[in-house]
């Protein structure tokens, strides 16, 4: 278990945060750029000294300003995955992964099995002996993850682990990342500003704004809370759900109590996202080719980031946000608390592994 209290004067504000992460728990630190997320990771890893604070990991005190204890980074057994990976460019993937084992004096005979296990799990066996400069973005990302995990760290820190990848590769690796992290029985902190990452990887989520944790809860609670759901520039309509097939062969994803008809080849637990622009609001049920139709109450009408557009949040059992023009809201005279119908096509529901 990780227990930390950290305080540090930064240029624009004071970082002041308290964190508790259980073994096997993944905490997502969600916040905009420059909110202090990466600083927290650096302080935990011992790459930066706090002005004040205490870090306790698995019963051992790593840092305590009151007692003048500061264990240097190399003695902390923290697996740190950097945003740009920081893979050693003069080494192969295998050499990168074995570096931590070598440095932490893990007995030689244990190196090969551990490295091969990681190479296999992460699908890197074929490129293991390539210099990392020759690897693709996705391969580098997995090598960085393997390197951080190889010496069996006591704490795993991931700084925007997917942000350097193109969206296709992100989609592919999000599932791998989630799977690998769930197997580790250690506390894990994931820094991100992606709602999708948070939903698919994290167990708990903390919102960080200007160095302070302003909210904490399950990923769903945070992401779908109108107070925070709108703060991220990302799609607010992202949910975890599971794929199931009706007797008549229709493929659905069940989110909460709501079934979305989808087009997908995936199965099991997935993340679905619907762009707010794809949702049609109407006073009564539409007769159309769009197969997803739900009724619910309007929770909130707010200005969307684009000029002339409004976000209308409708509670259909889960909170869905539709983007509509201001004129439409006025023309149909939608008000908060009113019942409306929300409609979209099956293909508008994007399904991610």
């Amino acid at each position: 278990m990780l227990n930390a209290y950290l305080k540090k004067e930064l240029r624009d504000f004071t970082l002041d945060a308290e964190l508790t992460v259980e073994d096997g728990e993944t905490l997502a630190l969600l916040g905009s750029n420059g909110a202090g997320k990466s600083t927290i990771l650096r302080l935990l890893a011992g790459l930066m000294k706090p002005d004040e604070g205490r870090i306790e990991l698995g019963g051992a005190v790593l840092s305590d300003t009151a007692k003048r204890i500061f264990r240097p980074a190399e003695e902390r057994r923290v697996g740190y995955m950097f945003q740009n990976y920081a893979l050693f460019p003069h080494m192969t993937a295998r050499e990168n992964i074995s570096y931590g084992l070598l440095m932490q004096k893990v007995p030689k005979q244990e190196h090969a099995p551990r490295i091969n296990e990681l190479l296999e799990t992460l699908g890197l066996s074929e490129v293991a002996d390539e210099p990392v400069t020759k690897l693709s973005g996705g391969q580098r990302q997995r090598t960085a993850l393997a390197r951080a995990l190889a010496p069996r760290p006591a704490l795993l820190l991931l700084d925007e682990p997917l942000s350097a990848l193109d969206s296709k590769t992100q989609e592919r690796l999000r599932g791998t990342l989630a799977g690998v992290i769930r197997q580790e029985e250690i506390p894990c902190i994931l820094v991100t500003h992606s709602v999708l990452d948070t939903l698919s990887v994290a167990d708990t989520t903390a919102v960080i704004e200007r160095g302070r944790i302003t909210a904490r809860g399950t990923p769903e609670e945070i992401v779908h809370n109108p107070a925070y759901g709108f703060v991220t520039s990302e799609n607010p309509n992202m949910f975890r759900g599971s794929v199931w097939v009706k007797e008549n062969g229709i493929v659905c994803v069940r989110v909460g109590g709501v079934d979305f008809r989808v087009v997908t080849t995936l199965s099991g637990v997935v993340t679905v996202s619907i762009r707010p622009e794809e949702l049609i609001l109407s006073r009564s049920r539409l007769e159309s080719t769009a197969v997803n139709s739900f009724t619910g109450r309007i929770v909130k009408i707010a200005d969307a980031p684009e000029a002339g557009t409004k976000f209308v949040q409708v509670d259909i059992g889960i909170p869905l946000v539709a983007a509509v023009t201001r004129q439409s809201v006025e023309r149909l005279a939608f008000i908060e608390g009113e019942r409306v119908t929300v409609t979209c096509k099956a293909t508008a529901v994007n399904v991610f592994g």
């Binding site: 650096r42 890893a45 011992g46 790459l47 240097p72 980074a73 190399e74 003695e75 902390r76 057994r77 923290v78 697996g79 740190y80 950097f82 740009n84 920081a86 893979l87 050693f88 460019p89 003069h90 570096y99 931590g100 440095m103 932490q104 400069t133 390197r147 951080a148 010496p151």
Partner: protein
């Protein structure tokens, strides 16, 4: 109404011709003196001159002292360059200026300064004298003069090489369990190596060419303090062939050095791009 566009062909041709002429004249200015050295001696005479005892002595002394000073500069300069590249501390600019100073200082000033410090009655020299240790006008003085004058070439380049290595690599190494020193040798040094090598070569070349400070502080004693540049100067009166032969060796060597450094620089730039 349309604007009249002037025909600028003549001006364009003029610019081209003028530029070409300036470049050509400058290259002639640099090349002619170098080439004229080669015209003053036949290959056979050159071989004889180079194998003369005074030339061989100077060659050996130059190579030996320049090698020793380069090694000493690396030993002392590397930690300094690294700290200045990575750590912000009060007075860093002063330290930087101090280590850069010998580059612009006239070598005669350096020689005189070394004399007042290490000469028999110098600030430090007087204490060495108590133990019967003489520094000025010995081979040790040659090495000291070379270190003093050539060290900035290494330290400047080394600092830039270390700064070019992203600190994030070092952080990664630390979190993986490597201490500061291990990180330096396993990560920073290999990544800076190519660029450091350029600095080492330039330092060696500068030490090899050292003349003024050596002359003032070490004298011109054949076999003891008479390095190649001093021999070239000394032999001009007695045996011009030796002077010319040694000069040609230095010209060729310097040309090769700069080519190598440029090649290393290009390779380094392409390596981790």
């Amino acid at each position: 109404m349309q604007y009249q566009v002037k025909n600028r062909t003549a001006a364009r041709v003029g610019t081209t011709v003028l530029t070409a002429a300036l470049i050509f004249l400058f290259l002639i200015f640099i090349t002619v003196p170098l080439i004229s050295l080669f015209t003053r001696i036949s290959p056979a005479d050159m071989l004889t001159a180079l194998t003369s005892p005074s030339a061989l002595q100077a060659l050996a002394l130059s190579a030996g002292t320049a090698l020793v000073s380069t090694v000493i500069v690396i030993l002392f300069g590397t930690p300094l360059a690294y700290i200045n590249a990575r750590v912000r501390y009060p007075g860093r600019n002063i330290v930087d200026t101090l280590t850069d100073l010998p580059i612009v200082l006239p070598p005669t000033v350096a020689g005189l300064a070394l004399m007042t410090a290490f000469g028999a009655n110098g600030m430090l020299g007087q204490y060495f004298s108590l133990f019967g240790i003489k520094i000025a006008f010995t081979t040790v003085a040659v090495v000291i003069a070379q270190i003093f004058v050539a060290s900035p070439f290494y330290i400047r380049q080394a600092r830039a090489s270390f700064e070019a290595v992203d600190a994030e690599y070092e952080y990664a190494s630390r979190t993986l369990g490597a201490g500061v020193v291990t990180t330096f040798f396993r990560v920073t040094l290999p990544l800076a190596a190519g660029s450091l090598l350029s600095g080492i070569i330039m330092t060696f070349a500068r030490a090899l060419g050292e003349f003024g400070a050596t002359m003032m502080f070490a004298g011109n004693l054949p076999g003891k303090t008479q390095t190649m540049p001093l021999a070239i100067y000394g032999e001009m009166q007695s045996d011009m062939a030796v002077s010319i032969a040694l000069s040609i060796v230095l010209v060729l060597f310097s040309f090769a050095i700069i080519l190598i450094v440029k090649y290393l620089g290009n390779r380094e730039a392409a390596k981790y791009a």
